[in-house]
Amino acid sequence: MVAAGRTVSDAAVALRGLRFGWPGAAQACVDIADFTLAAGERLFLHGPSGSGKTTLLSLIGGVLRADAGSLRVLGTDLVALSGPRRDRFRADHIGFIFQQFNLIPYLSAADNIALPCRFSPLRAQRAGDIGAAVARLAGHLDLPVDLLARPAAELSVGQQQRVAAARALIGAPALVVADEPTSALDAARQDAFLDLLLGECAAAGASLLFVSHDLRLAGRFDRCVALSNINATTEATA
């Protein structure tokens, strides 16, 4: 295991006794005793819809705050941070890719890729020359240069997902979270996209938390974890 021998503070994500329930809900939605994503690890988290994965990702992203337990992302305890500081932390350190509709439709592909740098001075600084960084990432992800000036809404779904991947990777965030990024793609494009994503994360040294219900993809990752095994919501009490 890649995680072996590392301390908790070295981990990209470390959850201990994490609990979260939506206000008014009788049951906790997330109740995870122990989960670790090691630095540089590429992990496949298997979760069908309704298994609380979106909520878990919102917790890791700091959009939601846990009710109990500890949640350390890149060594920072998110439960202790205020809302605006969690927003800043997310902007600085995490790149997100969603199932679809990832892009701001009226911005060009290049502007979409550069968007995280507008929210995070840290990532802007790490990206250096933003125009060059956009062009380099686009090149790696097989996005033709003439596509970059076009509004995102005019791109095909496959192109949009690659733009989203480039956006998640710009400014070298230490953690990339992908939520079903391939489910809008056909099988051939799924493989190609996965190649690009895994390659780019490895090249950037970023940890990848890849969430999907499609187990066929699991073989491409360092490790596979089923959310149903770690999320003990059925045992949780209100």
């Binding site: 979106t54 990702l57 919102s58 992203g61 959009v63 939601l64 809302g83 605006p84 927003d87 800043r88 997310r90 902007a91 600085d92 997100f96 969603f98 509709f101 990832n102 892009l103 701001i104 439709p105 009226y106 911005l107 502007d111 968007l115 995280p116 507008r118 929210f119 995070s120 956006r167 939520d179």
Partner: protein
């Protein structure tokens, strides 16, 4: 953190092109209307206040101040009494009086009032911002049967110097009361002033005496007919006039002279300060333009409601966009600021557009307004009081923007990084 939001704001506004343009036009038009009404209001007020300028006192038989102003300046209504010529002469020789222009009313010409006066009228009566009367054509009256007509009289009846006109006794209700035996010749046409002078026919005091030689008590004396060529044989010096306009040597003496006239023994007279009484009168007629202003304020409110409606209705379509921004690190506060910025930007742009529109409009119609209605509209950008109005509009926009911004804030809190419809 703020700078990137600008870029987003502009791109997002551009994205919703047509709706944005329409909203902008609605705000611009409402601002144009508001400022235009406010401007016309001020200009109308100052042009009204300057109906008569340079005149320090108006003297007439004792009645009400507003009544005296109405009949002597606006030619509305009639005087209840005249002023005897001996009093006028005495006033003229008063040590503080610089000039005195007598006014004799009571006749008309095809609906326009005839003003019997002296040639001094053209020298001393001023309108607007102390503008003296100018002749558009011809010159002042000289002979007994000469007449000068105001711009509107000339325009509506097609008169030019040399035209022959017939005056009527009284307001001209009866054709039988025409002074047809003594026609007048137009010698001059005055330039437009935007005051009641435009609607006047001006003749000498001697002419008023001459046309009434064979009249008594409002009708012709039966059997007496004095042809025009013989009037020179009669004494045509005025016996009574309706009112007099007075200019003083020093304006500082105005209250003393006024008090002197008002408290003098004998024939009861009333002296008024035209500016003060004009203000008094404006307070009565000014209600209309205040209503107009209120209406245009409502139009601005409608424009802003349109802005809010556009933004609110676009919000549900933008929930994904807001969720993406959240995932990229935008806080709910950033989303709030983003929406506020959008609507305030639209409001400011709308105001700017409205001001430009008003400027173009006023530059375009000012010559016509002056020529046709004598209203002087100066095409100016914005003055201080208009800036206050604009600031008020933007403040109202800011307040109204809270509605879409708050909704966006609520959405982004509830949605987080993914839209849950």
């Amino acid at each position: 953190m703020r700078l990137p939001l600008w870029h987003l704001t502009l791109a997002s506004i551009r994205n919703r092109g047509l709706a944005t343009v329409l909203t902008l036009v609605a705000i611009a038009l409402s601002v144009t209307l508001l400022l235009g009404v406010e401007r016309l209001r001020n200009d109308a007020r100052s042009s009204f206040a300057n109906t008569l300028s340079g005149t320090d006192l108006i003297v007439g038989a004792r009645s009400g101040a507003v009544q005296l102003l109405l009949y002597s300046v606006f030619h509305i209504g009639d005087a209840t009494h005249d002023v005897s010529w001996s009093r006028i002469d005495a006033l003229r020789s008063h040590k503080d009086v610089a000039w005195l222009v007598p006014v004799s009313l009571g006749d008309s010409h095809r609906g326009f009032r005839v003003v019997g006066t002296t040639a001094d009228f053209f020298a001393h009566v001023q309108t607007g911002d102390r503008q003296p009367l100018r002749f558009a054509a011809g010159q002042a009256f000289d002979g007994v049967f000469d007449a000068v007509v105001g711009a509107e009289v000339a325009a509506s009846l097609g008169y030019a110097p040399g035209a022959k006109i017939v005056l009527s006794h009284g307001a001209g209700e009866f054709a039988a009361a025409e002074h047809g035996d003594k026609p007048f010749t137009v010698t001059g046409v005055l330039a437009r002033t935007g005051t009641p002078v435009d609607r006047s026919v001006l003749v000498g005091l001697a002419a008023i005496e001459a046309i009434h030689l064979d009249w008594q008590g409002g009708s012709r004396i039966p059997g007496v007919e004095i042809p025009a060529q013989f009037v020179g044989k009669f004494d045509l010096s005025p016996k009574r006039v309706t009112a007099a306009l007075i200019g003083l040597e020093r304006r500082s003496t105005v209250f003393r002279v006024q008090r002197e006239i008002n408290t003098s023994d004998g024939e009861p007279l009333l002296a008024i300060l035209p500016g003060v009484t004009l203000d008094e009168l404006w307070r009565v007629v000014g209600v209309v333009e205040r209503v107009l202003l209120a209406v245009s304020a409502f139009v601005v409110a409608v424009g802003l409601a349109g802005l809010v409606a556009t933004l609110v209705s676009s919000l549900s379509a933008r929930r994904r966009e807001l969720a993406i921004l959240r995932a990229l690190g935008a806080g709910p506060g950033d989303v709030f600021v983003l929406l506020m910025t959008e609507s305030v930007l639209l409001a400011v742009a709308g105001c700017a557009l409205g001001v430009m529109l008003l400027w173009a409009l006023s530059a375009g119609i000012a010559p016509w307004l002056m020529a046709e209605h004598g209203v002087q509209l100066v095409a100016r950008f914005v003055d201080q009081s208009e800036l206050v109005w604009l600031a008020g509009v933007i403040a109202a926009a800011l307040l109204a923007s809270v509605i879409p911004a708050w909704r966006a804030y609520r959405y982004s809190l509830a949605d987080g990084m993914t839209v849950r419809m």
